[in-house]
């Protein structure tokens, strides 16, 4: 019997593909060793047709893989010949400009065979713990400082991993065991995806993905274009000022909204930094498109059709289109503010739908023992607590306090941090008045105070933003509070990028930034202001920004 592909059947298959990629994603997260994967879901999984067009992608904790994976698979698909592929082969790369913006992200692609020919591909990406070099931090001065780069190659040949390649990866890492575990998890994820894809095709009695793929892509493209058609056509520009590393810098964006798509161009954006906060274009594109899709057609799943109308470009060599061999390890620091950049453009077209700027860049705080502690036989540790500032106020609601956006990261629990490392967090509380005033208030940042618990010094690797330039409000809303890092007894504030040594008796204080407000503060509902005062989110002093307490 030939399966008739009615719309309901096509849709059931589409739903199945979406379920398969979510299952792939879960498989990967469960088996991953990197805390950032576990806590933040920093992975991706997708299914592609034989031409490399993405049909489904898991919704995971990070937008950083959204189009990067689609582009990477197209690249690998073009690079290797279909005729040479065998069942059980898996291809890979961690080239930041092909995969996902820095060396830690490994991307694998596996052809799916049915009746002896390739019918599609599965792919997945995951963040590995350590690739050697200077490690996860902005201190490298070029990509070679940052660790091992593996160009597109065959990782698994007909089911057997390339032993030499695995040896090389092990030999170039401080965490060889965890890396190996992560790579096996990626392989298992690809294999599981292929297996489920083929069994789905068997179940539904289809020999290729052509009809299904066209249905998914056409439906999604149409939906995306309809959503774009609701945005007034025009050219919208925005500029963000950021702290940068060695100097402050500007990010520029021009958003062109036309009937057939939305295009973002970063012309005018500052050049690259000498340190690893540069962003390859694929990564900047991922966050940019994510932000647009939060407003324009958020209910349409990511695939080649829904992504096609969104394009992003920038002059080569600007910090959002960094070129080899500049360092890119901490590309998320600025990558995570590109949503604020592009939403500032979109706001001009849709003033009633776009939130104010938020803290955006997470306070990801890798810490480890000071080198001499290990030499003296002291307690060694390495942890990576993550904490966030406030999100921007929404056009019809306050921002969210101490909440990740655009990242989907989980904040760390203090009891867990203290169980795993000799540190004590003495305070973790919302910071009153840190949310930008507005008709709708920005989300609050938080204050975190910490010391060593055993008087041993430790190192914090900083790469955070908005210590100099706050998250701005919209429509008369005021900016959120700046972030701030300092020692309680210190004379001056600590900059947001670089290595920070904390002595055994130092008392370190982090303030994460607040989100910007939306609308004129004088228009805030008095009851809402009164509640903020009652709850201590706004102080009497802070209430002055709203014209004071009536």
């Amino acid at each position: 019997m030939t399966a008739e592909l009615s719309p309901a059947r096509l849709q059931v298959m589409w739903n199945r593909l979406l379920a398969v990629v979510e299952e792939q994603g879960q498989t990967l997260i469960r088996a991953a060793f990197s805390p950032i994967v576990r806590e933040c879901g920093d992975i991706s999984a997708g299914i592609f047709d034989v031409n490399g067009r993405m049909l489904a992608q898991a919704v995971t904790g990070t937008p950083g893989h959204i189009n990067t994976m689609a582009e990477a698979v197209l690249h690998l698909r073009g690079r290797f010949c279909l005729q040479d592929m065998k069942p059980g082969d898996i291809y890979m790369t961690n080239d930041p400009w092909l995969a996902s913006g820095h060396l830690n992200d490994f991307l694998l692609m596996m052809p799916a065979f049915k009746d002896g020919k390739v019918v599609g591909f599965t792919s997945c990406t995951s963040h590995l713990v350590d690739l050697g070099g200077l490690g996860m931090g902005p201190e490298g001065s070029d990509i070679y400082d940052e660790g091992l780069l593996i160009p597109p190659c065959k990782l698994v040949e007909a089911g057997t991993p390339n032993a030499l390649l695995m040896d090389i990866i092990r030999a170039n890492s401080r965490e060889p065991i965890a890396n190996e575990g992560d790579i096996y998890a990626l392989i298992a994820c690809c294999e599981a995806g292929v297996k489920r894809l083929i069994s789905m095709m068997d179940e539904f009695g289809i020999g290729d993905l052509d009809t299904l793929g066209s249905y998914i892509i056409d439906t999604s493209r149409k939906g995306a274009l309809e959503a774009i058609a609701e945005v007034p056509e025009g050219v919208y520009k925005n500029v963000l000022r950021m702290d940068g590393y060695e100097n402050e810098l500007e990010l520029h964006a021009t958003l062109t909204v036309a009937k057939d798509g939305m295009h973002v161009d970063f012309t005018g954006t500052a050049g690259c930094s000498k340190k690893g906060i540069n962003v390859p274009l694929n990564y900047a594109t991922a966050y940019t498109v994510f932000a647009l899709r939060c407003i324009v057609g958020p209910d349409i799943p990511n695939n080649a059709g829904s992504l096609e109308p969104f394009t992003v470009d920038g002059p080569k060599g600007c910090i959002l289109n960094a070129q080899r061999p500049v360092p890119v390890a901490m590309r998320h620091t600025l990558g995570q503010v590109t949503p604020d950049l592009v939403l500032g453009c979109l706001h001009q077209a849709l003033p009633d739908q776009v939130p104010a700027e938020g803290a955006s860049c997470m306070f990801d705080l890798p810490m480890r023992h000071a080198p001499e502690v290990a030499a003296n036989g002291g307690r060694e540790f390495a942890i990576e607590p993550v904490h966030n500032g406030g999100t921007g106020a929404r056009p019809h609601a306050d921002g969210l306090s101490a909440t990740a956006y655009p990242s989907g990261v989980f904040g760390s629990q203090v009891e867990i941090t203290e169980s795993m490392a000799p540190v004590i967090m003495w305070r973790r509380e919302l910071l009153p008045d840190s949310g930008g005033a507005g008709k709708y208030r920005g989300g609050l940042g938080q204050r975190i105070e910490m010391t060593s618990s055993n008087n041993a010094p430790f190192i914090v690797f900083l790469s955070v933003e908005r210590l100099k330039f706050p998250a701005l409000g919209r429509m008369g809303g005021q900016p959120g509070a700046l972030g701030r890092i300092r020692f309680r007894d210190g004379d001056s504030d600590i900059p947001g990028k670089g290595e920070l040594r904390v002595e055994g008796d130092d008392y370190l204080i982090f303030d994460t930034p607040g989100g910007g407000g939306f609308g004129n503060p004088a228009e805030r509902d008095p009851a809402a202001l009164a509640l903020d005062l009652k709850r201590g989110l706004v102080t009497e002093e802070g209430a002055k920004a709203y014209g004071g307490v009536s």
């Binding site: 379920a19 498989t27 469960r30 088996a31």
Partner: protein
């Protein structure tokens, strides 16, 4: 002659109260469904009890065992009908609830609001004190702040207090001291402390659990004492035991202390029933499938034990999305619950995609066919249109159905937009909802490192038997068991639950450098605590103790549960435990990671009365084809064609009787659809067994 036992189980659900009376091990004497009486739920329960007593000609005084489960605790949390709670945390940590995990539960939804966690910031109080992760006092409890704290509590209007101090799981003395002072000085307050309610690391989860407990404690104390009083007045002499989310029973006193453990006890009963059937039928791998009016609940059952978990989320706001509810850390039978049931509403989204649920028409207004004012087509409307629900036998004729209204609604909402006739629309709704139930099951299995394919599905609930073969096909499952009285499955399950209590406590250590004395002391304390609780209900009955460690590779998030020997650990245990962990890890992830350190954060103890003995299962008598005399026209769910289905009353089927699909096997509270690619027979203990005999083209 053995002493005859007479046991009564009452499960109070959101719409119906199910009551079952059983004699001996599992002879069902009577069962009934009555409407839940929300004003005083005990009334509906009493009505149910009266009916089964009447039907079986017994009296309440003869009852030797009484098990009660209720959604009251869950509903109080969902409907926000609990007490005014204030929290007391360590100074510096006022915002544990506000900050939570710092995340949005939906990646693309910029307008989402975070779940309401019951205690607003103005009632979040603090006191100066501090423990270290090891349980050492870093800052003593500052009792000079008590007066100010009491003034704040008084001003806040709090009726119940939740205390959660940093690392109290490692050293509870500050929490205990604070509770003593508060109960002395404010005897009217109920006080819950985190080191009692949920002694696990992770301040947010522990505080949420403590808050939820405090929130429902006054209400549940009141309810339980009234319930007991009414039934004692009606003649009940045996003690009443409460069903818990973990699938065990506890005394009313324990329930009043830890009411949070009563949430989701109904679904737990269903899983217990499925486990019992699995044990009796020798089924090693089972998927229980419980579908009601609003949700479908699936549970994996291996070796006749339902999968358990230590965490659960209450009142998920948005479409059952993870993270949109309030996390509580209590021992629970782990289930995946999705918004797909008979009342789930179907529609078309703006991409032209068919959608079903999670919104439900519930029982009011209900499906369109019920003619109670519902206008949105539901899953039940599509089942009626496809011919699977036959109007004249539905709900014993208590509810009249209008199939034409179903068709009109399907056409209006779906057919006109997608250019489908009513049957095409109904078929689409069925495919989408069945696929989403199957997907939920597959996802749940993947998250647990398991596979669905080799499992037997045990289906019950009002809509479970109706959708079982369709969902099984999507999930790749080829064998289904439908127990007798599937409509009151949860209440029957209560009767097979052990009296048990489980405690999980955090203590971080690496396996290779385990502090043996500390761990053994920890277990001694936990076992003594659990035995005392179980002893209250079980008296001198024998109990079993199970010790467990939750292990993981350092750096990895996923914990693997390893059973420990029931004795103090010694240095010689480390190597076999490492091997046990690696073996289990290999099973789940195909290869272990030699050389990686293994760490343990949580330790658990479960003390329980032994499972009731199993009767030997007689062989199913030889299959004989049942003589089908009636048929009904249905739309075949395999290929969409029109077919005549055998129409059989379940009561007419005898063990060994065999019916080929397509067939509809109806009974008072539900109908079983036997799809064309399945056939059904009745086994020796009255289960309906459906076997797929050919792979259907989905």
């Amino acid at each position: 002659m053995t002493i005859q036992t007479l046991r009564l189980a009452i499960d109070i659900g959101g719409t119906f109260t199910d009551t079952v009376l059983v004699s001996d091990e599992d002879t069902i004497l009577a069962s009934t469904k009555t409407l839940t009486t929300h004003g005083n739920p005990a009334e509906g329960a009493m009505e149910g009890a009266r009916r089964v007593m009447q039907q079986s000609d017994r009296t309440l005084a003869e009852v030797t065992g009484f098990i009660h489960g209720t959604t009251l605790a869950t509903n109080a949390l969902i409907e926000r009908r609990g007490a005014v709670v204030a929290t007391i945390c360590t100074e510096g940590f006022r915002d544990i609830l506000e900050i939570g995990y710092e995340r949005r539960y939906s990646q693309y939804d910029i307008n989402l609001e975070k779940p309401d966690l019951l205690v607003p910031r103005e009632r979040s109080l603090t006191i100066s004190e501090r423990m270290s992760a090891e349980g050492d006092v870093l800052i003593p409890l500052d009792e000079t702040q008590i007066d100010a704290l009491l003034a704040d509590i008084d001003a806040s209007g709090a009726e119940a207090i939740a205390i959660c101090l940093m690392h109290a799981y490692a050293n509870p003395t500050h929490e205990q001291r604070l509770r003593t002072i508060l109960t002395e000085r404010r005897p009217d307050l109920t006080v819950s402390i985190s080191s009692d309610v949920s002694p696990e690391a992770r301040e947010f989860d522990r505080l949420c659990t403590t808050v939820a407990n405090a929130y429902i404690q006054p209400l549940m104390e009141h309810y339980l004492s009234r319930f007991v009083d009414q039934f004692e007045a009606a003649g009940v002499t045996c003690s009443i035991l409460m069903m818990t989310a973990g699938g065990g029973m506890c005394t009313v006193e324990t329930a009043a202390r830890f009411p949070i453990r009563l949430v989701e006890s109904g679904p737990a009963g269903g899983a217990i029933l499925a486990a019992r059937i699995a044990a009796r039928s020798g089924l090693d791998k089972v998927l229980s499938f419980d579908v009601g009016g609003t949700t479908a609940k699936l549970c994996l059952i291996d070796k006749a034990r339902p999968q358990t978990s230590r965490a659960f989320e209450i009142a998920r706001a948005a479409r059952f999305i993870k993270g949109s509810g309030m996390p509580v850390r209590i021992p629970v039978i782990e289930m995946i619950e999705i918004g797909a049931g008979g009342g789930s509403i179907a529609g078309v989204d703006r991409l032209g995609r068919l959608t079903v649920g999670p919104k439900s028409a519930g029982s009011e207004p209900g499906p369109v066919a019920f003619m109670r004012g519902g206008t949105d087509p539901t899953v039940t409307d599509s089942d009626i249109t496809l011919g699977y629900i036959v109007p004249d036998t539905f709900a014993e004729g208590h509810i009249r159905l209008d199939p034409e209204a179903s068709k009109a609604a399907l056409t209006r909402t779906i057919g006109d937009r997608l250019n489908l006739d009513p049957i095409g629309s109904a078929d689409g709704v069925s495919r989408i909802v069945d696929e989403s139930m199957a997907s939920a099951g597959r996802m749940h299995a993947v998250e647990s490192g398991k596979d669905l394919g080799p499992r037997t599905m045990i289906a019950f609930g009002g809509n479970g038997p109706l959708h079982a073969s369709r969902v099984a096909r999507s999930a790749g499952v080829s064998c289904i068991v439908i127990p007798p009285n599937p409509g009151v499955g949860s209440a029957i399950g209560f009767l097979f639950a052990p009296i048990s209590f489980e405690i999980v406590r955090s203590r971080y250590s690496l396996l290779e450098s385990l502090g043996l004395d500390g761990v053994n002391d920890l277990f001694d304390t936990m076992i003594a605590e659990a035995k005392e609780v179980v002893g209250q209900g079980a008296g001198n009955a024998p109990t079993e103790t199970q010790r467990t460690a939750f292990m993981r590779y350092s750096g990895q998030g996923h914990e693997i549960e390893i059973t420990l020997p029931d004795r103090p650990l010694t240095a010689e245990d480390i190597t076999p435990l490492t091997a046990a962990f690696e073996k289990e890890y290999r099973k789940q992830f195909s290869r272990p990671v030699p050389g990686m350190e293994i760490e343990i954060l949580n330790w658990a103890v479960r003390v329980a009365t032994p499972d009731p003995a199993l009767l030997p299962v007689p062989e199913t008598p030889e299959c004989t084809a049942f003589n089908v005399t009636e048929t009904r026209q249905i739309t075949c769910d395999v290929d969409g064609s029109t077919k005549d289905a055998a129409f059989v009353a379940r009561a007419d089927l005898k063990p060994g009787n065999h019916v080929s699909g397509p067939a509809l096997i109806h009974e008072p509270q539900t109908t079983t659809l036997v799809s064309a690619d399945f056939s059904a027979h009745v086994d020796s203990i009255g289960n309906l067994v459906l076997i797929q005999h050919q792979k259907g083209g989905a």
